[in-house]
């Protein structure tokens, strides 16, 4: 692919926000309203991120807007004076500067900002199983986007499996577009029998709205006679050109049950997308159970690096309301640092912090109700590809781990697992587990480029700097 012809453009701002989802938009909005020069970079065409991902105007014209709050927030950001750069992929860093690829113009862009707010969101956790590479095996998120954005059913007979409350709205969205949901298969046991309640473990908490929402989904599934099976995971998907049959087992094994399907949507919750904030040097800890990298950040997203903030699902998977609050709180800290804070501002900040803490407490309880069954990786047959990009079977990873080089770097180097296009975003949990999972096992390293980028764009970066004929551009 040809690279850009000219040198690298340099953009300077007070605040650079990476990721235009709920958290990034809140951070950008409140910083811009306070008069700071803000630039927002996002790889998609439009602001919104995943939760507020927006329908194409042609679809909106027919089916309306499915996330009006997201539209309102995006419009507020655009009206705030923040400079919005969509189709800009941030692929690396150079010290504090962000290195981006403008996909539209196919040119390199360097962004230098006093404050960097990273709001890169989360990925769905995928755990491998025999047949997971078959066409028709997708994440719940893909099934959701197809149903809500495009009004397309991922299949006519769909099995929804994995863990987490997200499976329920996806199942309902599938019903709405005319799919038959043959079952919802949940790895944990979060729902009590005898009704659409999630009364059990969560009744002690004061989150009636969230509980009512989950209860509403369960009631709708019951009306459509969709079985919700708990303590059960996908053991195998079978098919030719496309998935045709799924075998499920109890989470601890045994009790086979099969389903005829034409699509399987499976995912075990979410894990934060930490690569960029790690490249920028933020201190992290590893979740000893899942190998997830967790950013050590305050309520306002402040990391161990001064001026670097991690907000939204990146800072902890806790839902859209918490994500928005985190973005807002980061903006409050940044504007307080730039222009000071009134007593009223301080009171508002404390009020928002308390709200955030309640939401985070609820999310951590939810997390305990839906533990991802990472142990299923231990019994993965040797011949199954754990890394789907490079087609590396589990047995080869195990063999390398047994040599004593049981760290993730050695496993990557020895097997090529995790070195393909997705950069271990799909296989990360499984690879970490196979590499000898323990609290002391280092997670997969964050490496540049964090997204594939044309080589011309990287080469172009070397020519940037003071010699740039265009000179730095101000936001």
């Amino acid at each position: 692919m040809t690279g850009p012809a000219g040198g690298t453009a340099v953009l300077r701002a007070d605040v650079a926000v990476v990721g235009g989802g709920p958290a990034g938009m809140e951070a950008a909005l409140w910083c811009a309203r306070a008069g700071l020069a803000v630039v927002v970079l996002d790889e998609h065409e439009d602001l919104g991120g995943q939760y507020f991902r927006r329908r194409h105007p042609a679809i909106r014209a027919v089916h309306g807007d499915h996330r009006p709050e997201g539209t309102a927030l995006a419009e507020a950001v655009r009206a705030s004076g923040a400079r919005v750069l969509t189709r800009h992929v941030v692929w690396g860093v150079d010290g504090r500067a962000l290195l981006a690829h403008d996909e539209e113009g196919d040119r390199a862009l360097r962004v230098e900002a006093g404050h960097v707010v990273v709001a890169t969101g989360a990925y769905e956790r995928v755990l491998p199983f025999p047949g997971w590479e078959l066409p028709g095996v997708v994440t719940p998120g893909l099934a959701m986007h197809l149903a809500t954005m495009d009004r397309v059913a991922v299949g006519s007979r769909v099995l929804l499996a994995g863990s987490g409350p997200f499976l329920l709205p996806v199942a309902c969205a599938l019903l709405e577009v005319g799919a038959r949901v043959v079952a919802v298969v949940e790895a944990g046991r979060p729902y009590r029998p005898g009704g659409p309640g999630v009364r059990g473990g969560v009744e002690a908490l004061r989150h009636p709205a969230r509980l009512a929402e989950l209860g509403g989904y369960l009631a709708r599934l019951a009306r459509h006679r969709v079985p919700v099976l708990q303590d059960r995971v996908v053991a195998e998907a079978v098919g030719g050109a496309r998935v045709a049959r799924v075998r499920t087992v109890r989470t601890c094994g045994g009790g086979d049950r099969e389903f005829e399907v034409d699509a399987l949507a499976v995912g075990y919750g979410f894990r934060p997308a930490t690569e960029l904030v790690r490249l920028l040097g933020a201190r992290t800890v590893v979740d000893p159970r899942t190998g997830d990298v967790v950013i050590a950040a305050g309520d306002d997203g402040a990391t161990s690096v001064p001026g670097l903030y991690a907000v939204g699902e990146l800072a902890g998977v806790a839902g859209v309301h918490a994500a928005r609050l985190r973005g807002r709180l980061a903006a409050m800290s940044i504007t307080a640092a730039a222009a000071g804070e009134t007593r009223a501002d301080g009171r508002e900040r404390e009020r928002l912090r308390r709200r955030l803490r309640r939401l985070v407490a609820f999310a951590s309880l939810t997390g305990r109700l839906y533990p991802p069954p990472v142990e299923m990786v231990d019994t993965l047959p040797d011949e199954v590809h754990v890394c789907r990009c490079e087609a590396v079977p589990a047995g080869r990873v195990r063999a390398i781990a047994r040599t004593g080089l049981n760290d993730v770097h050695a496993v990557k180097g020895g097997s090529r697992a995790g070195m393909g296009l997705c950069q271990a975003r799909e296989c990360g949990t499984a690879l970490w587990r196979l590499a000898g999972a323990s609290g002391s096992t280092a997670p997969l390293p964050a490496r540049m480029p964090v997204r594939p980028v044309p080589t011309g764009v990287v080469a172009d970066m070397d020519r940037s700097g003071p010699a740039d004929p265009a000179g730095p551009e101000q936001v």
Partner: protein, 109 residues
């Protein structure tokens, strides 16, 4: 550029499918039952979309001559030519080069 109502026609490996304007290319292909988006470079097996958010790169196709477009991130607004590399080969007849001007796709939101 986008047709206001009705449908747009997409040629997938030479076979026409119909899409509603504004759909993602991945959605249009899935709605038409076309689940084979690429051939795995190592195993040769046909692959289809997994993540729907630009992370897995399983849905990469050639669109109007441009390689490696993630079909989940491309919106269909007009007629386009898609090559998956999984179907019967078609001779490149000039329809598939250049491609930006008048192309019937735009990035999906």
């Amino acid at each position: 550029m986008a047709e206001r109502a009705g449908h747009v026609e997409i040629l997938v490996d030479g076979v026409p499918i119909s899409a509603r304007p504004g759909m993602s290319l991945a959605a249009a292909m899935i709605a038409a039952g076309r689940w084979h988006f690429r051939r795995h470079p190592v195993t040769g097996a046909a692959r289809g979309p997994l993540c729907g958010m630009g992370v897995c790169f399983e849905c990469e196709v050639r669109v109007d001559g441009r390689d490696a477009r993630r079909a989940c991130m491309v919106a269909v607004t007009g007629p386009v030519i898609v090559e998956t590399g999984t179907g019967p080969r078609r001779e490149p007849d000039g329809a598939g080069t250049g491609g930006s001007a008048g192309s019937g796709v735009e990035p999906a939101g």
